[in-house]
């Protein structure tokens, strides 16, 4: 490992690191625009200047590899002057329209002007004008005047998706970003990332722009629930203003952004995940409901829990254990699934419990998008709720129910009519004494159930999900539960307590530590070891 000196302090840095990377490791601030750790080095913005002994000229730190004994200075007058000059160049033709720019507050031009710029501007000429507010895709807006031509977005399309939609057209100060003729970003399933990599307000997200000023945003680490990949994300929500239906179309979550995880998604996420969070506000089940006289009527939670408990108790007392079926979901957290297992399998000894249903059809690729659109299949497998030898799948259970009169069917989350044969589902519902649905959103199956228990979504609950690699990753509550919705494990525990279930968990962390004790695959895992980057299940 070479030793280099940065601003008079020696550091050991890995071989092959660039000076910019070394400065980042040493927590020495060096400004940069075109550099992105996930993309090739372009070296065109020219602002990451440092002084290196032995070089008369300032060097760009992004394309200079460290060598042993190198002496780097980042705060000399020459460096500061060079950075100021580059910033002034970048701003001479910039429209300076920060008050109406949605990037304001998270714009590196603003940030660096305050930190490294603050020069006395000398530009007295007419600015170059370029196209503004150009919708270059369904989701992305381009403002070519704000663009600093760092080429990050171009490199993203060239190097990551390898689709090459974007390019820099024209030369000199008329150069601008654009889409190649006859190409479209709408077919690029990762296009939203170009907005993330844009350091300025040139590419903005049409789904997010003008919904919330970024300084009102709160941030919480989470996991995208859109497929088995489990991309690490940040959930951005409005933390400053109380939610009102008229603000931002009534949405509580403003946007999702990918969060770096080297083993899962690096810096990226797909558009399906990025924009697929509206279900947390739309078509939500807000209160428990009971079918009475053909209609679903709202009831309160104590009634609902009492009803569910009594109906389970009665059927067990009458010896109808075989007439009960539980169809859990791979959308549930490990904690929720653990309570499903503790209550139905261990305590009540119900034989027909599964989380195994046919996959929802959906595309997949060799990058991040997985065919399995549920986030916790591996968790359900590890908990023995699917895939074990001799275990029936959800569809097999439904077919068995079809054979005769059934006592109780408890379904978590799924719209069974969308995932299994619809006629079969209708028949099953008609021939079952009690159909309990527990989940967050309205759909045909929720409407057909007899008792509906509203659940929270991934932005309202604490817990863990296990991705396809077996990586257990943490989701966290971002906003309060909508309506009276409740997390599944909490409701199951409340129901189970008078049926012989011995648990008394107060937090999902307690659920998880019990899970880690009892399920070998989760041995030694805890919320601490999972941390921000997740931890792998034990195999075997």
């Amino acid at each position: 490992m070479p030793t280099i000196t940065i601003d008079d302090t020696p550091y050991q840095v890995p071989d092959g690191a660039t000076v910019l990377q070394a400065c980042q490791m040493a927590r020495v601030r060096v400004p940069y625009y075109c550099y992105h750790p996930g993309l090739s080095i372009a070296g065109n913005c020219r602002i990451c200047l440092v002084e290196i002994d032995g070089n008369a000229k300032l060097q760009i730190s992004c394309n200079t590899r460290v060598t042993d004994g190198m002496n780097v200075r980042t705060t000399t007058h020459k460096v500061q002057q060079g950075q100021r000059e580059v910033l002034e160049f970048l701003l001479v033709n910039h429209p300076l329209d920060c008050p109406v720019c949605d990037q304001a507050g998270e714009c590196e031009l603003q940030n660096y002007y305050l930190e490294f710029g603050a020069y006395d501007p000398k530009f007295n000429e007419a600015k170059v004008h370029k196209p503004k507010a150009v919708p270059i895709s369904q989701k992305i807006m381009l403002d070519a005047e704000r663009c600093i031509l760092c080429s990050r977005c171009v490199r993203f399309c060239d190097e990551i998706t390898k689709t090459g939609e974007l390019a820099i057209f024209n030369r000199g100060d008329h150069a601008e970003i654009g889409i190649h003729p006859q190409k479209t970003l709408d077919e690029n399933q990762y296009a939203g990332n170009v907005v993330d990599v844009c350091p300025v307000g040139a590419l903005t997200d049409r789904d997010f722009r003008f919904q919330c000023r970024v300084w009102y945003l709160g941030t919480q680490d989470s996991i995208c629930p859109g497929c088995a990949q489990g991309c690490n994300i940040q959930v951005h929500y409005n933390k400053e203003r109380e939610w009102r239906p008229h603000i931002a179309d009534g949405r509580r979550i403003m946007r999702l952004r990918p969060r770096y995880n080297a083993e899962v998604n690096q810096w990226w996420m797909c558009d399906a995940g990025r924009y697929g969070f509206r279900f947390v506000d739309e078509q939500r089940l807000l209160r428990p409901r009971l079918r009475a006289g053909g209609e679903l009527k709202e009831i309160d939670w104590s009634q609902a829990i009492h009803l569910a408990t009594e109906s389970l108790h009665a059927r067990l007392a009458q010896g109808h254990r075989e007439g009960i079926a539980i169809i859990a979901s791979t959308h549930l957290t490990n904690e929720d699934l653990f309570l499903v297992k503790r209550l139905f399998c261990d305590t009540l000894q119900v034989p027909l419990v599964t989380a195994d249903l046919p996959l929802v059809p959906g595309d997949h690729d060799a990058f991040l998008i997985k065919a399995d659109k549920s986030p916790n299949t591996r968790g359900a497998q590890a908990l023995g709720l699917m895939g074990a030898a001799g275990q029936l799948t959800g569809e097999q259970i439904l077919r068995r129910i079809q054979q005769g009169r059934w006592r109780l069917l408890w379904v978590f989350g799924h719209d069974l009519s969308a995932r299994c044969d619809e006629a079969l589902v209708r028949h099953v519902v008609a021939n079952t004494d009690l159909v309990i649905f527990q989940g967050p959103n309205h759909h045909r199956f929720a409407e057909a159930a007899h008792l509906v228990l509203p659940s929270t979504t991934f932005v309202e609950k604490d817990g863990t999900l296990t991705n396809w690699q077996g990586r257990v990753q943490r989701i966290r509550p971002v906003v309060p539960p909508l309506g009276e919705s409740r997390g599944e494990w909490d409701v199951l525990q409340a129901i189970g307590q008078s049926l012989g279930l011995t648990t008394d968990f107060q937090t999902s962390e307690q659920v998880f530590s019990s899970l880690a004790e009892q399920v070998p695959a989760f041995r030694d895992l805890s919320y601490q070891t999972i941390g921000r980057q997740g931890a792998l299940l034990h195999t075997r």
Binding site: I41, A42, G43, N44, C45, R46, I47, L49, K57, L58, N63, G82, E85, V86, E88, F89, L90, V92, N93, K122, F123, N124, E125, A126, V128, I148, L149, A167, I168, N170, R171, G172, D173, H174, A175
Partner: protein
């Protein structure tokens, strides 16, 4: 006057045809090289000849070749830079038009030295006749077996591919040329890696100028020592083709030893300033080079002497300006060129060239402000040495040198809002 080397055959009838070239002992040097010398010996001989890159940078050619890795499984490429775009320069055009086989013979020697079996010749798009002549010459050479699978019947293959540029000045910068050849926009590439290690299609590549390659035949026909002394200077070899243009009696292309002075070129070769007028200023090496005043022309035209004089030999395009020339307008022409031709990749150059041109345009229009000269100098200084390629430096040098050396003229423009020379030339 001098022994002509590069331009010796320019005046001969049909000098571009292979028959006349063979008659003048053409292709014998290359045949001799391929038959008797190892590539290492070729490189050593070129190093001894003190041949330097005549595209303008003046980098020792033998040294450049020696950077090509010998232990590599990748193909190596020779790329000929015939994208002669430096304003005031037209030497490669003559070579391609009037002695294309000399260039091809140089290509054979260079390709053999670096182990390249494919040579790309990137010819400036506007060069119609040079392109046609060179293409015909390559076909002739192929017919004679000098280019193709067995060069001179020996186990050495060389394929020459001609690529026509599309009009961008920046594509004369060697890495932008490579980007363009690869099918990309002509953006200069970040260095390191340098082309000799990782160039065209990520393979080791040597980019040489047309004139540089044209010298090789002479080096191997007459010996490195003879070639080295031709220049009249210790650290360069050979003569140079000087493109003389501007306010002189006999504009044109002149071959001279590199030790020739600017004064000799203007007065002895080109017949002096037109109509007996006063000399005002000279650009010695293409529009990028810093300007020299009439008092500074006793400088030898070799790379080192001109560098010591604060300018550069560059492409040896000498542009002469007499007393009727307005330096503000002259600078305006230069800044317009650089603002138009900046590739737009690096922030300082992209924004700086346009900014500078706008200020100079304002000066010419009579709307200068007292602080403009400082802003110009500061902006030029902020571009210089801060970009991927030297285009920004080339754009900055005229600004710095014109304003520094002719400051009174610029100040007069700002103070009076008009050009004092307008009356003189009756404009």
């Amino acid at each position: 006057m001098t022994e002509l080397v590069l331009s010796a055959r320019f005046q001969k009838p049909d000098s571009h045809r292979i028959t006349t070239y063979l008659h003048d002992e053409g292709y014998q040097a290359a045949r001799h090289v391929l038959e008797t010398l190892t590539p290492e010996e070729v490189i050593a001989e070129v190093t001894r000849s003190n041949l330097r890159g005549l595209g303008g940078a003046g980098f020792p050619t033998g040294k450049k070749w020696s950077f090509v890795p010998t232990e590599t499984t990748k193909p190596k490429f020779l790329v000929v830079n015939a994208d002669e775009g430096e304003p005031g320069t037209f030497k490669d055009r003559y070579l391609l038009e009037r002695d294309p086989h000399r260039v091809i013979e140089g290509i054979l020697i260079a390709a053999y030295a670096i182990g390249a079996h494919k040579c790309y010749v990137y010819i400036r798009g506007e060069y119609d006749v040079p392109l046609a002549r060179f293409r015909q010459a390559v076909e002739e050479a192929a017919q004679y077996g000098f280019v193709g699978p067995r060069v001179f019947g020996r186990p050495f293959a060389l394929d020459i591919v001609i690529h026509r540029g599309a009009g961008a000045y920046i594509c004369g910068e060697e890495t932008a040329l490579l980007s363009s050849l690869e099918g990309y926009k002509g953006f200069p590439k970040l260095k390191p890696p340098f082309p000799a290690v990782e160039g065209l299609f990520h393979c080791p590549t040597i980019v040489n100028n047309v004139e540089t390659l044209a010298c090789l035949t002479t080096i191997f026909a007459k010996g490195a020592a003879w070639f080295a002394q031709l220049s009249g200077t210790p650290r360069s070899g050979g003569t140079r083709l000087f493109s003389l243009s501007g306010h002189i009696e006999k504009p044109g292309l002149y071959e001279a030893p590199q030790s020739v002075t600017l004064r000799q070129l203007i007065y002895d070769y080109a017949g002096g300033v037109r109509d007996g007028r006063q000399l005002k200023a000279v650009i010695p090496g293409g529009i990028s080079a810093k300007i020299l005043t009439a008092d500074e022309i006793d400088v030898p035209m070799d790379f080192d002497a001109l560098q010591q004089a604060g300018t550069m030999a560059g492409s040896a395009g000498v542009i002469v300006m007499d007393g009727t020339t307005c330096m503000v307008k002259a600078l305006w022409i230069a800044t317009k060129f650089f603002a138009h031709e900046s590739c737009g990749q690096c922030s300082p150059c992209r924004e700086g060239t346009g900014w500078i041109h706008k200020i100079v345009t304002r000066l010419v229009a009579g709307h200068g402000r007292p602080q403009d000269l400082e802003v110009l100098l500061r902006t030029a200084g902020a571009m210089e040495g801060r970009t991927i390629c030297v285009f920004a430096d080339a754009a900055a040098w005229p600004v710095q040198s014109y304003i520094t050396k002719f400051r009174e003229e610029f100040e007069s423009h700002i103070q009076t809002g008009r050009c004092a020379l307008d009356a003189l030339v009756g404009a």
